[in-house]
Every structure is written in C-alpha cells, then in structure tokens.
Amino acid sequence: VSPQTRKKTVSKTKIFSSRAFAAATVLAVVLAIIMIGLGRAGYTKEFFTSPPPGTSTPAISPSVTPPVSASPSSSPSATNNPSGIIPASYFSGTSVGSPTAPVTITEYADYQCSICQTFAATTEKDLERVYVATGVVRYVFKNFIVFGDESLLAAQAAEAAAEQNKFWPYHDLLMESRFSESAPDITLAKLQSIAQIVGLNMDQFNSAMSSGKFKDQVMQDDAEGKALGITGTPTFSVNGALGKGNVPLDAFKKVIDQILQGTGS
C-alpha cells in the first residue's frame, strides 16, 4: 500500500469514526428525550386509587370547602396545636379532627421512614391547617411497621403517649428526630427523653414500655394495613381511596373535593 493510499484510507476511517461517534451521541440524546417525553405522557398521575364501592358520602354544601390558596406552612412543631387553630376537642388518641368530619384520612406510617418524616413536617401540617382545623377532615394515624424492631418500639412509645392524651406532640417530635431507616439509632433512652420533653407521666410511660402493653395495638394497625393491600409507607386512605408516597396537598384537595361534591368516595 502506497503511503498516499494509506493516508487516504486512514483519513476516511477517522472521519467515519468521528461522524459515527457524533451521530451516536445525537441518537442517544434523541432517544433519551423520546423516553422522557413518553414517560411524561404515560405516567399514572393519579395519586389515589378509586375508592371501594359503597363508601359514598352524601354531598354537602360546597361552602364548607375551605380555600387551599394559602402558602404551605412547613414549620414543624412539637406541640399539638401550635397556633391554636385546632379545637382541643378534636384531639382523641391517635386521631385529630371533628368526629362529624365528612372526610377521614388515615395515614399508615413508620417513624423511621424518611418520606413519612418529610410528610409530617410539610403536607401534614398543611392538611391540619386547611382541612382539620376547619372540620372537613378527621386525620387518623396508624402504624405500619416496615423497618423492624426499632420502628415497633417507637410506635409503642407513641401509643403510650396517646394513652396520656399526648400522642400528637410525641408523634411530631419522633418524626422531627428523623431516626434513620437503616442505622440502629432508636433506643428506649431516646424515647424516654422525648417523653420527658412532651411532659408524660414517666412512671406510666415506662410501665407501658416495659410491659409491651401497646404491642398488640401496633400489630393490629399493621395487620389492618396489610389487609388493605398496603405495601409501603406512607400510604393514605381518604374515605377508602388509597394514595402512596409523599402525596402533595393538591392531590389531597382533588380527592377531598370529589368527596365533598358527592362524586368521589
């Protein structure tokens, strides 16, 4: 092969190679854009499943529906009722809200679940402010154990606080503590420390913890969640319609509006 021929073929090959590389890069970008586009078009955007039949709520006056225009109040608090907006009579055990509220939201959560912790500090506060305080929603907390023995221990401690009518401040502090899903960082001493901050009767609290008084209650919540087909936390039931994950306020508003208008559950 003459040097000229060799130079020519090599040059052609290099050009082909770089062009092929450039074309492949463009093709990859186009493919990715198509996948993102298909994804955006094909996502299941509904956070909530269809409600089970037979759970319809009679339509009530739309005037009861509160506006959801205020900006989110994402400030966590260690108290039941930081701004005094929720009537004291609304607090009962692990629930908060008017007993006659047309909508019941039940949260199944684990105190070690990071999404549950984020939700408790953000959207849960907004729900309390917008819907619970106005008597539209009764909010119920139930335990769903995902992360094992430490979660079980924390759940029992919260139930022990509920026995002394201090569930919500205890729940809020547990969530704000942001215990890890994987690191072994929940101890009885830490749970006792939270109990002291909340102002529980420590003898009663310690007795409940040492006897495992609320273990059955926690496991009953867990079994109830499993029976509903729940597989992870947090999961929410809004009058029977199930929603998973860090459900935004807008998604709650949508399903609540449907219920209030008599078109949903």
């Binding site: 021929t5 090599v10 590389f21 996502y43 992360f147 936390t233």
Partner: protein, 130 residues
C-alpha cells in the same frame, strides 16, 4: 489484506479494552438482577422489603414509577438485557462488528444516563425523597 487491516485500525482504537469488554456484560447482568428485584418489589403483595443500601419503596410505589402501566424497573431490565446482548456480541464479533457493538452500547448507555438524571430530578424535586 494489509490495506484492510490498516483501515480498521483507527476504528478499533475507539473500542474499549478487553477488560472493559468483559466488564460491560457482567455489569449489565448485575443491572438486570437489580431491576428484576425492583420489578418484583413493585408487583409484590407482601410488605415492602428494603435493602440496606436503599431507601424504602416509596419511590418505587410513587405514580412516577409507572409508565403506561408498566413499572420503570421493567424497562430498565429490558435495556440491561439489550446491553448484555450487545456486550456478548462485542466480545465475540470481529473488527467492524465489534466497533458497531461498542457504538450501540454507547448509545444505550448514554441515553440511559440522561434518562436516569431525569429520574433523579423527579426523585429529589418532585417526590422529595432525598
């Protein structure tokens, strides 16, 4: 023949070395296994199973984990299966075939990376799991 060998030499320079050629299908098989496990978790009716190095299944169970009714992890499995096949082809093919396989792996991997960056954006800024 000499001329032919001269022609393919510059192209072959763009191909990965032998070690990387072996690593590609092996890593793709690991990817297939992980995607398979995540697909199992998606369809599992039992309580969530969380790996020690992973967050729990909220991201997996969010509305963004399903595209056209199919879990994203299943799409991932298919992509990894393609890359595994291409990786094996690359190992067995000669010259131009080898280069073409490398190029296709590049296309699949780059588009996958871009799509994954988008998924991370969703995870951090939309699902708020961080």
């Amino acid at each position: 023949l000499k001329a032919k060998s001269k022609v393919v030499t510059p192209v072959s320079m763009a191909r990965p070395g032998r070690g990387l050629q072996i690593a590609i299908p092996l890593l793709a098989i690991v990817g297939m296994a992980i995607s398979g496990y995540l697909t199992y978790l998606h369809y599992a009716t039992v309580s969530a199973v969380c790996l020690p190095f992973m967050e729990c299944d909220v991201v997996l169970s969010s509305p963004y984990s399903v595209m056209w009714g199919v879990p994203l992890s299943l799409f991932g499995m298919v992509v990894y299966a393609f890359i595994t096949g291409l990786g094996i082809w690359q190992l067995r093919a000669k010259n131009e075939g080898k280069s073409l396989a490398a190029l296709l792996i590049y296309v699949m991997a780059l588009s996958g990376i871009i799509f994954t960056v988008y998924l991370y954006y969703l995870e951090i800024f939309v699902i708020h799991d961080f």
